[in-house]
Symmetry: C2
Subunit: 421 residues, 2 copies
Amino acid sequence: MTYATLNDANQAVIAELRKARPRLVDVKPAGSCIPFLAEGMSLLHAGPPIAWEDMTGPMKGAVLGACLFEGWAGTAKEAETLASGGKIRFAPCHDNSAVGPMGGITSAHMPVLVVKNAEHGNVAYCNLNEGIGKVMRFGAFEGEVQTRLAWMRDVLGPVMSEALSHLEDGLDLTAMMAQAVTMGDEFHQRNIAASALLLRALAAEIVGCGGDDAKRREVLAFLGRTDQFFLNIAMAYCKCVMDAGAKVGEGSIVTAMTRNGKDFGIRVSGLGDRWFTAPVNTPVGLFFTGYSQDDANPDIGDSAITETLGIGGAAMIAAPGVTRFLGAGGFNDALEISEEMREIYIETNSSFQIPTWDFQGACLGLDIRRVVETGITPVINTGIAHRKPGIGQVGAGTVRPPLACFEQALEALAAARSRSA
Amino acid sequence: MTYATLNDANQAVIAELRKARPRLVDVKPAGSCIPFLAEGMSLLHAGPPIAWEDMTGPMKGAVLGACLFEGWAGTAKEAETLASGGKIRFAPCHDNSAVGPMGGITSAHMPVLVVKNAEHGNVAYCNLNEGIGKVMRFGAFEGEVQTRLAWMRDVLGPVMSEALSHLEDGLDLTAMMAQAVTMGDEFHQRNIAASALLLRALAAEIVGCGGDDAKRREVLAFLGRTDQFFLNIAMAYCKCVMDAGAKVGEGSIVTAMTRNGKDFGIRVSGLGDRWFTAPVNTPVGLFFTGYSQDDANPDIGDSAITETLGIGGAAMIAAPGVTRFLGAGGFNDALEISEEMREIYIETNSSFQIPTWDFQGACLGLDIRRVVETGITPVINTGIAHRKPGIGQVGAGTVRPPLACFEQALEALAAARSRSA
């Protein structure tokens, strides 16, 4: 052990989290930068490891969609035969420097955001946000979903890549998010400000890209109407920061929280890549017309990486505009949630000062000891997928992780420290 | 009198304010749509009427700048000779369906925003925001100021006009501002969200404009870095709404508040176009490096049309991010200001629900009776110009109108009602 106490170790982790400066530098085909995807029929998924048989509807739907998109199958039935026959290699995004919202299904020819930490040099990837409604990450997989994925591969990805190449060293995401947090974003269920600031930063560069006007116009129109476009960038940002913190290799700070629809998994700074899992809860919230709580899939997606850093639900007070969308009440409810979260995160993040919290920084450093001692689990702001494949998003709400993940991790940490003592 | 009581008349005014739906439909040369500017050497200025001799530094500087821009003079000295020799016709923006920030100086070949009220049909105009620092509205007038004005005339105006022409019926500003008020804008000293949303709405249409890439790229880059671009649109919006309310012709609702650097002037719904004036105060706030309170020009500009509607200072709670910029304190100070303002505005505006005010609508309907009874004058968020011509913006802060304007108007209203009774 390098550090005498867990507190010292945690402060070392916090120091690395604070130093990290992730920049959006490129958008590239996933297979060109994630080695696992370059070979055979391979897919990344959200959450801790899971087999096809255990996947819930939205992830299964997205797997079928990816098989169709990659041309491995001509029909959903053929795709299902491939998947159930064990022909597809699966691995968690998190084991491949990546994150993916909801199903998190990522294949070789999908474009991914490339976010590079200028301080530590590590890189994180995330696929591109498709918008809302009938989209693959929520389990829809046919028709417009395939058309959009092909357009993202052929137009959106290459145009964004070229636009980013015009910049000296990509975009400073910390600066952009510091601005957006003063504009009501919490970066999980509300990203409209950051999405608009991103478009603002790239619009002139997109015009400066070659190719025909129609394509550039399509890209700007898509970015202009996709309020959650920045979510995936925020996720890659948080992954990039948390991976830098994890390298300290000690301490009780949570470095990943994620869900595969069946299990919730966490990683802890002093416990490496080991997953501590327990069955997920099901989010509660507001549903689009025609859907209800009965349609809700259990908790799913890597997007809880935002709450791992201390934004998302922990920054609810930054985004009172989102509380009604989530069914989480009004301004005072948002304040109460962030105040409660402040008890389980050990520090604040001066990069993200929240005006509505009287300029207090966002939470930083989720400590498993605090979670277990207080019994307070993190509030996660989340989209809600229909439990059946093929439908898509049906609502948005909040959910908490099972306390058991944190209890197991704390026991393991105690054991590890007593062995090394 | 159509209405038995002032309260009834005020409710009629409020009803018209609520019905108004201003849309940004075009950007045109001022001389093509404001008849006063089409003839001779004519300029519009901010505030109630004022002669050249009485103008303060920033307005005088802008007059010189406009003379150079229009080619009426080749040097600042020649321009001053024209102005002091009575060769230039001056009129308030407000008497010509227009508003202008700070000096408000508007000439025939400057592009103006055309905002049309889809409900009542009336139109309001405002020149385009130049950005911050050395800009004409704050009294700078040479070098980069002239270069920028020429570019705005030749590139920015025509490109925006063409982009807007692609839309069915322009942009619904109420919807855009309803969104931006949830993103921390109060539309006077903070417009970053609305400016970004505007760019988002126009970016694809700008790409669809003819002409060379370089010009479209310049326009997108300018809109992308001009955080206050939307201020002038918000001003035309408020003018358009307040003019619709003024047509009721009765009541004690303020329909205009404006300042020319010497006098503060207000108009009231039951008193037509008559100005009630008293000497302005000087804003107090924070100054850019190298400047101090001693450099501050007295209060100037038509931008208090935002507080006339009930946004700007009255909506401070919507924009806690701006309070520090203005030297107005933290979140609780912002809340106190809006709560204080709530005492002098008789209604709230359901179009602009403020999440940080627990979704209460912005203030609406500033009643001169409430101002005089309580002694509470509106808080105005304002830019601060250097008192000398040629320098520009030196800070930002808050200021209040003189109570005397409201007292005079109340006496006049009582006299008018007793005559007609």
